[in-house]
């Protein structure tokens, strides 16, 4: 295969406006499948979580999973959609061995939720409103494993089919075309998917683990000249299965399509596959408008009818959504945009909130979690919550610091020991005798030594350069193993040297 030409990203977005669109498939965490009683579970022995319904045996009929319908309504409400009072299932036909009936039962003309929006907040705080076209219910297909030399479909000699996933409930969230993101398009793509993931997690309707395929994203990208109003021809990059990859895939398609268009060639409407190893997309099936799924209403199911009472009941069950919670916490805590965003990015909102609830001030909770604890976590390559340091530890640490039992430097040391499993901050201070030395008698000897050893500094201080006293504090701290109270040392030094306190 010849290398594909791409422009630099800067060149691409200088000449073209990207238009994005996303289809996100969310696998629901219901106990049973969309249309059968088979368990909806991940990672079991192949073809064990199946009934005759999931295998598309002759004579079987589907029955709609009520919990899945409720999940779809909740997601629809969270995405500010209109919930259809009546929606139907339809059959989408195509022959493929992972599809037991050779049609997928899905929603076509009327989705259960439609015409909504979601606010997406970029890293610098810019808010983008993404319009949602629809969110509809459908069933997942089985899983094919191509067996052969490369594991790729084209050189496979046979394939194994696991129908455990066949019939797992899915909600497909389809965005409207998103334009105007310009050079922020890759970032917007990533944050949009992150936002949807965060919402389905908050709703508790999906495990939303992208590495397991619980949440799968197809990214549509097209380019149009900067001043154009008509969208260009799009490509659909399938199954981009990590947040990072989504940004890269959009970035790559923008650069690739820009090169194609700049060369005067047309973009081919097609499905493309994301290649994680090379961070490129490769062409798949050429998609034309003639793709014919021969939809017609599913005659084996009756329409889903949602009355106001049901809707009200589900609306009342909705948790506070992540974006609303963040706005509330940011106001309540009075933190700066930058600090708050770091906290969000570190996934530390919950733990900070718990720390504040346990008695710490927002400033203190933020200082510790986003300061020393974040540094320890970074060094250990884990999340801040995975160090073994609890909100109660932080409150205790803050109390010790405020009381003057330890200083900041000691506190950082204590945190390290807490993370090492040596107990609570108080226990660490006790066991390692880390309390600060503020006993004047214990300090006097060290101060006298410092004065005696540094006559030139003393001379400067006495000549009026009072800030030089710092050069005497250092040796005292050193002599006391860092446990001296620096404020008290300064005070005693000033008295000895006859300065005004």
């Amino acid at each position: 295969m010849t290398a594909t030409t791409t422009l630099t990203f800067a060149d691409a977005v200088a000449h073209f406006e990207p238009v994005l669109g996303f289809e996100i498939h969310v696998e629901l965490n219901t106990a049973t499948k969309m249309f059968s009683q088979a368990p909806n579970a991940f990672g079991d022995e192949p073809n064990t979580n199946v009934t005759e319904v999931d295998l598309g045996m002759p004579g079987v009929l589907p029955v709609v999973n009520r919990t899945a319908v409720e999940s779809a309504i909740k997601l629809g409400l969270a995405l500010n959609c209109t919930i259809a009072p009546r929606s139907e299932f339809a059959r989408k036909h195509y022959f493929y061995p992972d599809l037991p009936k050779n049609f997928q039962t899905s929603q076509y003309e009327q989705a259960i939720a439609h015409d909504g929006w979601v606010d997406v907040e970029l890293d610098d705080g810019t808010v983008f409103r993404v319009e949602i076209e629809r969110a509809h219910l459908e069933e997942d297909a089985g899983k094919l494993t191509h067996m052969g030399e490369s594991g790729r479909i084209h050189s496979a000699s046979y394939a194994l089919v696991d129908y455990n996933r066949a019939g797992v409930p899915l909600i497909e969230v389809v965005s409207k075309p998103i334009s105007g993101a310009g050079d922020r398009a890759p970032e917007l793509a990533k944050v949009y998917v992150q936002t949807i993931r965060e919402i389905v997690r908050a709703l508790g309707i999906s495990d939303a683990r992208m590495e397991r395929g619980n949440l799968r994203c197809d990214a549509n990208v097209s380019l149009m000249p900067k001043d154009a109003t008509q969208f260009g021809t799009r490509t659909e990059t399938k199954n981009v299965n990590s947040l990072r990859a989504i940004g890269y895939a959009v970035d790559y398609e923008i650069r690739r399509q820009a090169a194609v268009l700049s060369a005067g060639d047309p973009v081919v409407q097609q499905t493309r596959h994301w290649q994680e190893d090379t961070r490129t997309t490769t062409p798949g099936r050429t998609k034309s408008d003639a793709d014919d799924y021969r939809y017609f209403p599913e005659p084996d199911l009756v329409p889903i009818e949602v009355d106001q009472a049901w809707l009200d009941r589900l609306a009342a069950q909705l948790p506070e959504l992540p974006v609303e919670r963040r706005r509330r916490l940011k106001t309540e805590w009075g933190l700066s945009d930058a600090v708050f965003r770091d906290m969000v990015n570190a996934d530390a909102l919950d733990v900070v909130e718990q720390t504040i609830t346990a008695g710490a001030s927002p400033g203190a909770a933020s200082k510790w979690w986003m300061g020393e604890i974040a540094r320890l976590a970074h060094a250990a390559d884990v999340a801040v919550t995975e160090l073994g340091i609890t909100p109660h530890h932080v409150v205790e640490l803050e109390t010790l610091t405020t009381a003057g039992t330890i200083n900041d430097r000691l506190a950082r040391q204590v945190l390290g020991h807490v993370a090492d499993g040596e107990g609570s901050p108080a226990e660490v201070v006790e066991a390692r005798s880390l309390a600060v030395v503020s006993d004047d008698a214990a300090l006097t000897a060290a101060i006298d030594t410092a004065i005696a050893s540094n006559p030139d500094v003393v001379a400067k201080v006495q000549a009026g350069k009072t800030q030089a006293i710092g050069a005497l504090i250092g040796p005292v701290m050193q002599a006391t193993g860092g446990k001296a109270d620096a404020g008290r040392v300064r005070q005693l030094l000033a008295e000895k040297l006859g300065l005004q306190a």
Binding site: P58, G59, R294, P299
Partner: protein, 514 residues
Amino acid sequence: MSPAEMIRLTALEMAEHLRAGTFTSVELTRAHFERINQVDGTADEGVHAFLHLNQDEALAVAAEVDAIRTAGGPEADELHPLAGVPIAIKDNIVTIGQPTTAASKILEGWMPPYDATVVRTIRAAKLPILGKTNLDEFAMGSTTEYSAYGVTRNPWDLNRAPGGSGGGSAAAVGAFMAPLALGSDTGGSIREPAAFTGTVGTKPTYGSVSRYGLIAMASSLDQIGPVTRTTADAAALHELIAGHDPKDSTSLHTQWNTLLEATTDQDLSGVRIGVLEEFQGPGFSAEIWEKFQETLDLLRDAGAEVTTVDCPHIPYALHAYYLIVPSEVSSNLARFDGIRYGNRVVPDGGGTVAEVMAATRAAGFGDEAKRRIMLGTFALSAGYVDAYYGTAQRVRTLVIQDLKHAFEHVDVLISPTTPTVAVKLGDQLEEPLSMYLNDVVTIPANLAGIPAISIPGGTAEHDMPVGLHIQGPAKSDATVYRVASAIEALIEAEQGKPFYDRAPEVPQVQGARS
């Protein structure tokens, strides 16, 4: 009582004798297998109603019922009234332990891993299952000649077709090889064979009987129903199999426990009987039309009010039906691809998945199945779906409205069941359009989801039976049984004997046990 006498009883009479101890269920079941052995034969000779016999299991169930009755006590008291009365099941209804083929090569040898809901019900009520009956492949046809396993012959004349698609069930009941059978009716597959074999067949209100385990032809039209020799037997079997099934979302929550009782009320005075303007005269054979007029006279004499009603869209029902059915067929039959079950045909030298699917379907489906798959695939394709499938659905709505209006003026609508008597084997095999016309009367009930029954209405050309078709509004199955039973009694009174006793003796097959 001799086996030959036993098998000529009605199912309800058999049930009565079993309770009274005149004979046992094992004796009764054996008598039926004996009859099957004498007249059913093979694809080459005899009636050939059965594709599979289930003798060991049937006799075991019969013995179990007998043992329970002998032991007496609460378990005997709780036996279903039809317990011990044998039944035959159309081979598009899935059964554990017996192959289910839908008369297609593509499912040859397939052993279902589950029971249809109606089969579970029948097992729970302890009716011995005699075996599986022949049909047109996937229930597509009106003569049973499209079975991949050979034709079924009409017990009234072995040179004629028994109708279809449920020719096997109707012929089994008509030839006294079974007192009861299950059929499925998408456009007349229970009623047209009933008319051709002098038996009774009901297409219940859509949703009255669970479709779970019925191999779907056209899901929005399919309905399982009883095939019997009398209206009361049909009502009794219908009551047994009816009711809501959580596995069938389209099944109704209605109660169906007054059907048998309705057959005991045979007073027709004041009953408003409608005759469709659109089904007058031409189109029906001369003798069938004459016989129908005689029946109308009987009804008037019995005090019924016979009026003509108008359903202007009914003539379009057949056309709508032959777009909706293939559309749903093309979808329902997509799963037969050789990947998960059934026959798999691998092209010479191997092939891709798509090539294996294509070869499997090319070899596995017969002509009529292929014809409907192609028509339906076209009718649903982009650019045509609205003109074909969409228009057909709009016509369906108009037919539903027409019938609804008609039932504001009459209690039931009656007509002959078929335009002609049973055709000779082979006559319609190369003329699918002519075959499709056999269903012109029966199709509207499927489109509208309403109950309809065919009962024997005498004989016409070649002394072959004709059917009388009675249909009522949705969920009025009890009314339909009441009127049908009353007409049945009138005809029987006029003839001096039940219609089924007029059937000619069925020739014994070569090598049959005497």
